[in-house]
């Protein structure tokens, strides 16, 4: 059974990708995950200059999930192009570069610099990271700002442009519709949910960054609701993510309207999660009596 799916112009061998921030720049999981088996990988967010990230502790386990406050530490686009892209060019899997900035101009600087480079299949515009003070999530808070940054980046590149949305907003569907209007090719949903924890032994917030982003199974219902809502607000494809760890989770996201999915936090505990899902997917589809992934996309939407 073919597991191939398309996210706009991007063909994936299967709908399972690694989520940005959980899979480094590609080689970190070598020997533990066969990246050639994956539908794609989204690398860690890349900014125009190196970003130091937030003070530790940067992770804290919570019931059914975890908080992170990495703060988008990354070596900057120059180092990424010089040291990380050569490895990524050797893989057949789809490479999605997550792009971050503090200003619209910074997003454009990254995208401009990447224009000269091969080996990139799509850009994922991160307007939803909860862990930085400026830029990041602030662009994803309302339709107007989201459209401004998307429109600006759209003029810099013809590459497939995915916009990653935050769940920490009143109406994600409106933001999705606004970025679709100005040329986004797909929506990634969702980024982490803002939260915090207290370390009772220290009587302080558990994370160095005070608040952080919640991920893992605890946020799956939140993510499904956003995907389901966005699917009714736009006609471009959706890449769904948030707490996925099983083939059944994947099928839920497909039925809610996602064309493909990303797996993140689950990889930390079980590096083999994505490959196990890909292995189990054909049998699961057969039990649902469908002959392709495509038949399930949006199956739970009203009017289907």
């Amino acid at each position: 059974m073919s597991l191939e799916v398309r996210v706009g112009a991007v063909r994936l061998a299967n709908p399972i990708m690694a989520a940005s921030g959980t899979f480094g720049f590609g080689p970190e999981y070598q020997g533990l995950v066969n990246i050639e088996r994956l539908g794609g990988i989204a690398v860690k967010g890349v900014s125009p200059v190196p970003w130091p990230g937030n003070p530790p502790p940067r992770v804290w386990e919570t019931e059914g999930g975890m908080l992170n406050s990495i703060g988008l530490q990354n070596p900057g686009v120059e180092v990424f192009c010089r040291e990380d892209l050569p490895f990524l060019r050797t893989t057949q899997t789809r490479v999605v570069v997550n792009v971050i900035g503090r200003t619209i101009d910074e997003y454009c600087q990254v995208v401009d610099r990447l224009e000269a480079e091969s080996g990139i299949d799509a850009l994922e515009l991160n307007i939803s990271c909860p862990n930085i003070k400026e830029g990041g999530m602030s662009f994803g808070q309302d339709p107007e700002h989201a459209a401004q940054v998307t429109r600006a980046v759209r003029t810099c590149t013809k590459r497939p442009l995915w916009v990653k949305l935050s769940p920490n907003v009143a109406d994600p569907g409106a933001i999705a519709a606004a970025v679709e209007m100005v040329g986004a090719d797909a929506i990634s949903a969702i980024n982490t949910v803002v939260g915090m924890a207290i370390d009772v032994k220290r009587r302080r917030p558990a994370l160095g960054g005070i608040s952080g982003g919640l991920s893992g199974p605890a946020i799956k219902p939140i993510a499904l609701r956003v995907v389901y809502q966005v699917a009714q607000s736009v006609s471009i494809p959706i890449v769904g993510m948030g707490g996925i760890r099983s083939v059944e989770d994947v099928v839920e996201f497909l039925m809610a309207g996602a064309s493909a999915v990303m797996v993140g936090t689950a990889t930390f505990a079980e590096p083999g999660t994505m490959e196990a899902i890909i292995e189990e997917l054909p049998g699961y589809l057969a039990r649902l009596e469908v002959s392709s992934v495509h038949e399930l996309i949006g199956a739970a939407l009203p009017g289907r």
Partner: protein
């Protein structure tokens, strides 16, 4: 060096080592060839694995020991495992201690649950060191002191012990005895593991002379260098930079690190 893998290993014995401290011995030939100071990421029912250093490495018997403190639900679950149970383990991970220099006096300094990797280092390399070998072990109180008997079986002269409350050994921290040792052995080599304030103090003490390698602890996510959670500030060629405890460490040379 053994490359990391996810595998299941059988527990061949379980010991209560002190209050809230349990040691599990795994039948694990691959892990038994790890380097002292390396660690494994153990699957527990929660979202993240638990990083635990090797307390023993016995490549002849194909066994590896994990000694941990019960601090939360994950480690409480782990402490409930019994002989014959299986553990899901990712490892071996990280960079361990280097082989000690044979002619330098060697001192192993452990605080609390930082003691186990030093025992693994001692048993791996004690025959390589022709100079003196000493150990200084610290704990909150006698109830929490681990592996004194293990060290005693390897080292034929008294082991320095300190406790915060003086219930065994000298009252105070390992820093007092270490300062004396350093005064007697100014060019010695120190391997240390313990709470961050203790390691910072060891690093300060060893600034003037000698060599110190420190095994660090930090809240960890992936364990393989991908998520950038477990960072520490270190000196880089162009100024301070974050290094990953899981991948660049957990063992660092003292002078590599920047203490806030």
């Amino acid at each position: 060096m053994e490359s990391p893998r996810v595998s299941r290993y059988r527990i061949v014995s379980r010991m209560e080592k002190a209050k809230d401290h349990v040691e599990l011995i795994l039948e694990a030939p691959v892990l038994s060839r790890a380097v002292p100071g390396q660690f494994v990421h153990v699957r527990t029912p929660g979202t993240l694995r638990r990083p635990i250093s090797f307390s023993r490495l016995n490549p002849v018997r194909g066994e590896a020991g994990l000694l941990f403190q019960v601090v939360g639900p994950g480690t409480a679950w782990l402490a409930g495992r019994e002989q014959g149970d299986w553990l899901d383990v990712l490892g071996p991970l990280g960079q361990g201690f280097p082989r000690p220099e044979p002619h330098r006096p060697w001192c192993l300094v452990g605080g609390g649950v930082g003691i186990p990797p030093l025992y693994a280092a001692l048993t791996a390399w004690q025959d390589d060191v022709t100079s003196s070998i000493d150990a200084i072990l610290g704990a909150r109180s006698q109830d929490y002191l681990i592996m004194l008997d293990d060290f005693g079986a390897q080292i034929d002269h008294p082991i320095e012990v300190t406790t915060d409350d003086g219930s065994v050994g000298g009252q105070g921290t390992v820093l007092g005895p270490l300062a004396h040792w350093h005064a007697r052995h100014p060019t010695g080599q120190v391997y240390a593991c313990g709470p961050t304030p203790m390691l910072a103090a060891v690093a300060r003490l060893m600034q003037t002379s000698g060599v110190a390698y420190l095994a660090l602890e930090q809240r960890m996510g992936c364990g393989v260098g991908a998520c950038l959670a477990c960072v520490v500030m270190a000196n880089g060629p162009e100024g301070p930079l974050w290094r990953r405890v899981c991948h660049d460490g957990p063992v660092f040379r003292a002078e590599e690190l920047i203490w806030s």
